[in-house]
Symmetry: C2
Subunit: 580 residues, 2 copies
């Protein structure tokens, strides 16, 4: 490809609304162009990356046995009503009416349509397992679209759906997809982690997010550097830190005027924060059939002073599964006789249910609020000073340094950007939509489903968040818009340079290498800056001066120095460097 037959449009400055580096660089490199909030034109340079990402995904999906089809964008509301999502999905679902006033949606995903296909096409156990995928435009009407392709409204996604006879089959399909995703992300050339994720209402452990590692990522990834444990922070299991020692101190009420946080109390008392216990008050409401509250229970949740409550885990605790809320100020006053900041489990005004985090249950001689303004108590011990907690549960976020739940080391935490998700769906859709197959006995059974997504356009943003420097993007070669750029200096005035550049362009192209020849005749500085911004992995500079010595310069995007090589060997070196 020659630049004159392509469209290169770099910008010196990113628009003001580009908050994150990937958005700024994609705009500056001319990869995307904003049409409306969260809706982008994919310009030629960006589309090349998208196509490469799609091609890798498609190859590995097919290799795994999945079959490609294409489901429509505009989908009839009837199916979404069958699954219940037409009502349940929030305003992110773009609903519309056709000319006959019938309801439709623009698909955010295609569970309903694929289930509709499956219930018509997959009638017998002999046809299972089956995995269908498509790569298609999606729309989610985000309230506040931002970060370019990272949180857009219109985006491209690969979504796959597996159908199996039973749970064992579904687990096998899941494993096959998991392996395919690893191959896909390996081929992208990105640093990533597959982290265990919450399965929500379904339960089980068949949910993994594929996270691209980036300091700017929104998600915290918990992993063990000495084992293969990895989970997102919502799921990562917190182990009790230490075991409970025998009481060593007497319980003492201590004035802590104005010190309402654990950190302030620890500082005032000159004790480690790890000796304190944080109190959080929740409430659950029991309703009658009319929806009126007939009973409210107040819960006191305790985590160590340096720990944070994990709301996802909290929702899984017995008694809180049906839904919980933070208690109101008056409920707290009513049960503790005290305002927040000085609460604790010792001698509450009215009975509350106490849930201690595993680590809190293992503490002794700890410090907590005295249920009296401006007072805390020290030397508190379970059993001696207060009853054992009603429940002990894992309700905190893990922190770096925690023991790994697999017992094989300690946990570390890094930031990631979620770009893929494999998920066991169970029979949620097959039951609500009557997607049954006939088993060996001719008996109808609901199909067990899994769904598997990759955010195609989001990959671009994540790749850039991970791979950039002050000059621009640094694409991995597999998904770069061009693997190598030939930059001739004086293409428009030196016949020797032109001949050498044309020849190298042709040689590399014939070898199947995705080569760009910048024949625009730009000055070297501007030309190099463009390709550093765009992020071509490899650059070959051809100049009259070099040609006099029979050489050209080859330089990797991350390299500080170019290698000087004989013109005749340049193609071979490029191929070698690209592993082609």
């Amino acid at each position: 490809m020659k630049a004159s037959q392509f469209f290169i449009a770099t910008l010196k400055e990113a628009p003001a609304d580009a908050e994150v580096i990937s958005h700024q660089l994609m705009m500056r490199a001319g990869m995307i162009k904003r049409l409306s909030a969260g809706i982008y034109n994919y310009m030629p340079m960006g589309l090349r990356v998208i196509r490469k990402v799609e091609a890798i995904i498609r190859e590995e999906m097919v290799r795994s046995g999945a079959v490609e089809l294409l489901m429509p964008l505009v989908q009839p509301a009837e199916l979404w009503q069958e699954s219940g999502r037409f009502q349940a999905y929030g305003p992110e679902l773009l609903r519309l009416k056709d000319r006959h006033d019938r309801d439709f949606v623009v698909q955010p995903t295609s569970e309903e349509v694929i289930t509709d296909i499956a219930r018509q096409e997959l009638r017998s156990y002999r046809q299972l397992p089956k995995n269908f995928f498509h790569i298609q435009t999606k729309f989610r009407d985000e309230r506040r679209p931002r970060f370019g392709v990272m949180r857009g409204r219109e985006f491209t996604m690969k979504d796959a759906y597996s159908f199996d006879r039973d749970k064992d089959g579904a687990a096998k399909s899941y494993d096959i997809m998991f392996a395919a995703y690893k191959r896909i992300f390996d081929r992208f050339g990105l640093q990533y982690r597959a982290v265990a994720a919450d399965t929500g209402a379904i339960g089980g452990d068949l949910s993994h997010e594929f996270q691209v590692i980036a300091d700017t990522g929104e998600d915290a990834i918990v992993y063990c550097p000495t084992s293969d444990y990895a989970a997102n922070v919502e799921l990562a299991e917190g182990i009790a830190l230490g075991t409970r020692a025998a009481p060593g101190e007497a319980m003492v009420k201590t004035p802590t005027p104005g010190k309402s946080t654990c950190a302030d109390v620890a500082a005032l008392l000159g004790l480690p924060l790890q000796r304190t216990v944080k109190s959080l008050v929740l409430a659950t409401d029991q309703l009658n059939e009319a929806g009126d509250v007939i009973k409210t229970t107040v819960w006191l949740l305790l985590v160590r002073g340096d720990h944070d409550l994990n709301e996802v885990k909290t929702g899984k605790v017995e008694g809180l599964k049906q839904g919980w809320r933070f208690a109101t100020a008056s409920e707290i006053e009513d049960h503790f006789g005290c305002k927040p900041g000085y609460l604790g489990p010792v001698s509450t005004k009215k009975p509350v249910k106490v849930i201690a985090d595993r680590t809190v249950a293992a503490m002794s001689d700890f410090i907590c609020g005295a249920n009296q303004a401006d007072f805390h108590i020290t030397g508190v011990n379970w059993g001696r000073d207060l009853p054992e907690p009603d429940l002990v549960a894992d309700i905190r976020n893990v922190v770096a340094g925690d023991p790994s739940p697999d017992g094989k080391g300690v946990l570390a935490i890094q930031r990631g950007i979620e770009v893929g998700h494999v998920f066991y769906l169970g029979t949620k859709y097959s039951k609500s939509m009557n997607a049954n197959y006939l088993d060996e006995n001719g008996k109808p059974q609901p199909m067990e489903m899994g769904c598997y997504g990759i955010g195609v356009t989001r990959i671009l943003g994540a790749a850039i968040e991970q791979n950039h420097d002050e000059r621009g993007i640094v694409w991995p070669a597999a998904i770069a818009p061009f693997a190598v750029v030939v930059c001739p200096i004086g293409y428009d005035r030196s016949a020797e340079v032109r001949a050498a550049a044309d020849q190298l362009h042709e040689t590399l192209g014939a070898a199947g290498i995705d080569v760009m020849l910048d024949d625009r005749g730009e000055r070297p500085g501007a030309m190099f800056a463009d390709w550093e911004l765009i992020g071509a992995p490899l650059r070959v500079v051809i100049s009259d001066r070099g040609l006099k010595a029979g050489t050209v310069e080859v330089q990797g995007r991350r390299e500080a120095q170019a290698s000087t090589v004989a013109l005749a060997e340049a193609a071979a070196l490029v191929k070698e460097r690209l592993g082609a």
Copy 2:
């Protein structure tokens, strides 16, 4: 590809709503699956054809210098308001509101968005010409979607848009696209014609439709078998048939009771239909600023009795360009003193403007209505019996046998399906949306535009309408879902058959041939019927009986007999047959 890793779902019967053969066969072959009226799932078998069509289009577009990008599906109404199309486009434009109640459309085409891109990105004459294309889902909310992918609501289209400095440049861009389209349709392996089409308000001759020839086509294509003249019937020029002879008969009023059509009159009088003249009465209204009619003009249009009025051409006649309508019964009575069926140009009750078709103006001794119920007059002659017509114009549809307008033969007519259109847009969008570039003198000039569409999914329907038989589809090899299918008989029970089939599958696959191995273990009859329905261009049958003699059978989809060839030579024969 093996059938067990793919999805084959043929049907014995097409659904009742499938009216045309392509729709029936696509449903039966499992290529599409209806989701809603005019909205289809593209099933794996159909998607393969779509991808091949897209790949050919993409290659030739890039070869022609066009640059691919991707514009969004959901587009803000503001741009459509700028161009005026938000109001002007009928209910086929799918309009919707986002969660913030802002207006959007689902794109039926992308003139507005590409013009918006161009006015921002193409600032200088140095950047022109430029041609951008994308292959994207489109939506047109057809009132009555039907014929499967031939007139769907959601469909895939390639649309390209060229930008030039001036009209000469636009004509060059047009020619380049015209040539690219010819390469594309040649590669599809379809019989087609590029026919001149009407340019509507823009004028000029830069509009061609690419029509796939099919007896079932909706459009009439006029062409000259002995020259390269081709036009659609709206545009094809009608030449005067004959030249006017001197009067030979006296004008005579003849009773023709109850004979109100030219055919009936000719039969009654025992004269050729070509001697009669048909009268059609139109009206034009002149309005004042308030929109009230201040003057109505009545027009009498005359075509030969065996000819039909062409309404598109009629709209181009001086005096009718601003819009015309058929006259009302009372206007006719008022001007002719007579009801339709017996009207004519001789002695009208009130003056009317007479427009004669070129052929009518060349007639003598003709027959027309007498402006008296149940009477016609014969032996009518221009100049002698009535004044020369006010206007002579080409206002009829041409018919087979007419002289070709290029003087190189006579016209023939065949049916076609429009699947592509190249069109010179001029400055319609660039002027309404202020898409200017700066010329050499730094002066802003509107860009000259062209647009170029191919209905990707429609190609499938058109190809099938052209290529099918009583057993199913007959795909051209270039766009067949699989170029060759290997059909082993007894794959599940004969080790020899299995080994030979696997080997051939592997050999052909390694040679880059798109081969399908049907490893389902179906009975031969069912297996063959499936692939004849699906339309694989070439079939290789491997059986124990053949292998005993060391042979397999190779048969083209249109061939009545298979060729028996040595197993060792099968791959070479397949390659040769496919031209690979």
